[in-house]
């Protein structure tokens, strides 16, 4: 079920919120949690119930390892490490079987001329996200940060529908205490209003900007054999706008939905298009993923290499982004995305260490150009699409490709599409407003309540 479907907005969400608070009012707090978990399963299985057993399999495995870890925490350190390592390997293999096996087998097969049987498994919805959530859960138990939990609490953390499919990635520590706060179990009109407010902003981002840009981007990248100079630059900007407003709009709808249940989820975007360096960009874009990568990949790699030095830190940055690229999907374009970001982040860190300076606007232009180009790689189905876009950007295909225009949506004879330009101008104005959607929601809520009286979970200490 999609957040922007009428089924979700007019039936699912109101029912879930109403029944949740009614159950809590009758002091059936455990039943209320079960209600959220079961409603989340319904939400998840709406498109394809066949995915449910896969989700259950992952949860059953992780619940087993969680219990072994809690038991091992009371005994020896070595046992604890073994169970943690086994649990993480379980998750990686599980994800690998569905997401990477066929790609790796196919590549090895074609490289060595072998016939390796493929599994042909469909990629279950949200598996990348629920796998990360559960790895973090096991790692936190291994560090003794999660006291022994009921199965219900574990299930609710994993299944909670606002984050299940596309994040933000949640941690036990930031979430479960919120579910147990008594005040959060009482319906609050202000929180409902704030949730609706943020949800509406997210919906508008997606419906008014991202979705109208999508057919243009698809036509330019998928159906234009030789992109001209003008079209290539338009699509470069258009896709960055599309991706940002789509993803952040979706996350706004997710955070807004959770707010209606009196739950704060961590913010995932903090005006990333204002970033003046790549390091800054990753501290503002998909923040819960960056946070996960920093905490569970970058830091352990760096620590394992002895006293941190610039060279080992750069190495750790590169490996982290390489892994991040692969996590996004089994394709060479994702590998290239990870390698490019890893490389440029190394350069950015080196530059910063040397204390070389750059005017802010130059940094902003470079960051946006680099990020936009890598997004094209991110979206491309093949390396050929990237080559086409790059040639277009460099003007190798001439100024415009209108001669190739097909039927339906087509390029204007000038190569410039005024609707798209207008839409992008609108998007850029929205993206450069002084406050982003989450900040506006906090201002709105403060106004409603008269004072700031809640603890919003912060995403991170460092930047």
């Amino acid at each position: 079920m999609l957040f922007n479907s009428s089924l979700y907005i007019f039936a699912f969400l109101p029912t879930v919120v109403a029944v949740y608070f009614l159950l809590n009012r009758e002091r059936l707090c455990t039943a209320a949690k079960w209600w959220l978990a079961i409603a989340s399963l319904f939400f998840y299985s709406w498109w394809n119930p066949a995915n449910l057993p896969i989700l259950f399999g992952s949860m059953a495995g992780n619940w087993f390892f969680a219990n072994r870890l809690w038991a091992a925490n009371e005994t020896t350190d070595i046992k604890r490490r073994r169970w943690l390592a086994t649990g993480i390997v379980f998750n990686l293999l599980y994800l690998g079987a569905f997401k990477y096996y066929d790609f790796v087998a196919g590549e090895i097969g074609s490289a060595f001329g072998l016939q390796i049987p493929l599994l042909g498994l469909a990629l279950p919805l949200g598996i990348s996200f629920f796998t990360l959530t559960q790895i973090a859960y096991l790692a936190d138990i291994g560090d003794r940060l999660v006291p022994r939990q009921s199965f219900l609490n574990f299930a609710l953390l994993v299944l909670f529908f606002p984050h299940l499919i596309i994040g933000p990635i949640l941690h036990h520590k930031g979430m479960m205490p919120q579910f147990d706060r008594l005040r959060a179990k009482v319906f609050q009109l202000e929180m409902l209003a704030a949730g609706v407010f943020l949800f509406a902003i997210g919906f508008a981002k997606k419906a008014l900007i991202a979705d109208p840009l999508a057919p243009f981007v698809a036509y330019a990248l998928d159906q234009t054999p030789q992109l001209g100079f003008f079209e290539a630059w338009q699509v470069l900007l258009a896709f960055t706008c599309q991706l940002y407003f789509d993803f952040s709009g979706y996350v706004d709808m997710a955070i807004g939905s959770a707010l209606m249940l009196n739950i704060w989820m961590p913010e995932n975007f903090n005006s990333p298009l204002k970033s003046r360096s790549l390091i800054e960009f990753w501290s503002r874009w998909h923040m819960t993923l960056t946070n996960f990568l920093t905490t569970y990949i970058y830091t352990p790699i760096l620590r394992s290499l002895g006293k941190p030095r610039l060279i080992t830190a750069l190495f750790a940055v590169f490996v982290t982004f390489f892994i991040s690229g692969i996590w996004h999907g089994p394709a060479w374009t994702f590998v290239l995305f990870g390698v490019l970001h890893g490389t440029c982040l190394m350069a950015n860190h080196f530059w910063r260490r040397k204390r070389w300076l750059m005017p802010g606007w130059v940094g902003w232009v470079l960051t946006m150009l680099f990020v936009s180009f890598t997004f094209i790689i991110f979206r491309a189905h093949s390396v050929g699409v990237v080559e086409n876009a790059l040639s277009g950007l460099l003007g190798l295909h001439g100024a415009t490709a209108y001669a190739f225009s097909g039927h339906g949506l087509s390029w204007a004879s000038s190569g410039i599409n005024m609707n798209i330009l207008g839409l992008m101008a609108f998007a850029i104005v929205i993206a450069s407003l002084p406050h982003n959607s989450v900040q506006l929601t906090i201002i709105f809520l403060t106004y409603l309540k008269g004072k700031q009286q809640w603890n919003r979970p912060r995403t991170t200490l460092q930047n």
Binding site: R144, L145, G174, T295, Y296, T299, A313, L461, Q462, N463
Partner: protein, 85 residues
């Protein structure tokens, strides 16, 4: 709570060394954005220095939602009161 000022002083010395700034002023409300060199590399250096100096060990997941120096100090206090292993 009597330990807090001592640990803060000790932490200040470590931070001055890690961030290569002998003049650095640190209070409980200091956050990463207030300190020029506080990036992801120095953050790991800082944590490792703190672990060595105080004889504590942080879990990975503990380090990500520290809001400011005050939160780090209270985490250190909490670890010193209840040593792991």
């Amino acid at each position: 709570m009597e330990q807090a000022p001592d640990n803060l002083t000790k932490l200040t010395h470590i931070m001055r060394r890690v961030f290569e700034n002998p003049e650095l002023k640190v209070s409980t409300t200091t956050a990463a954005c207030d300190v020029p060199n506080w990036d992801s590399l120095n953050h790991v250096s800082l944590i490792m220095e703190v672990e060595a100096a105080f004889g504590v060990r942080f879990g990975l997941g503990e380090l990500q939602d520290l809001k400011n120096v005050g939160a780090l100090v209270s985490l250190i206090d909490q670890k010193l009161k209840k040593p792991m292993q």
